[in-house]
Symmetry: C2
Subunit: 85 residues, 2 copies
């Protein structure tokens, strides 16, 4: 069983939530002379390997569930994902 699917999940704070970490990175970059940077938002990134043999639609549904219920906090965070086959 060599083949497998890989999911990439991105979790970021909602636009309405203050991203202190991103703001700090932005100020640091501007302070270092990168004055064209206007905003930075920092998030989490997950690469998930999924065993082969699963139905792509079922994998998509499972990754969506995992992202929504486990990896992201939907009160303050948004998530998106893509699946690479």
């Amino acid at each position: 069983m060599k083949g497998f699917m890989k999911a990439h999940v991105f979790v970021t704070l909602k636009k309405t939530v203050l991203d202190a970490q991103g703001k700090t990175v932005c100020q640091a970059l501007r302070g270092l002379g990168h004055s064209s940077i206007t905003e930075v938002r920092q998030g989490k990134y997950f690469e998930i390997d999924i065993a082969d043999g699963a139905d792509p639609a079922a994998v998509r549904a499972e990754v969506d569930l995992i992202a929504r219920e486990i990896l992201a906090n939907p009160v303050i965070e948004d998530y998106r994902f893509d699946i690479e086959e």
Copy 2:
């Protein structure tokens, strides 16, 4: 000045470096019944807004420099990025 460019930077631990956080997430997911998950690697994700008017090639070079020298630790981390115009 409405238009701007957005860079997405992904920073992950090198494959040879133990990703304890990713392993923990993987075990948690498997423990919750997601038995098709074989591996999880966790990384950082940055969305960087860049003021309009810059030359795309210069922006690409600047983002590469920022990712390599500031956002990632090249001893233990890999990075990649894409630019959305």
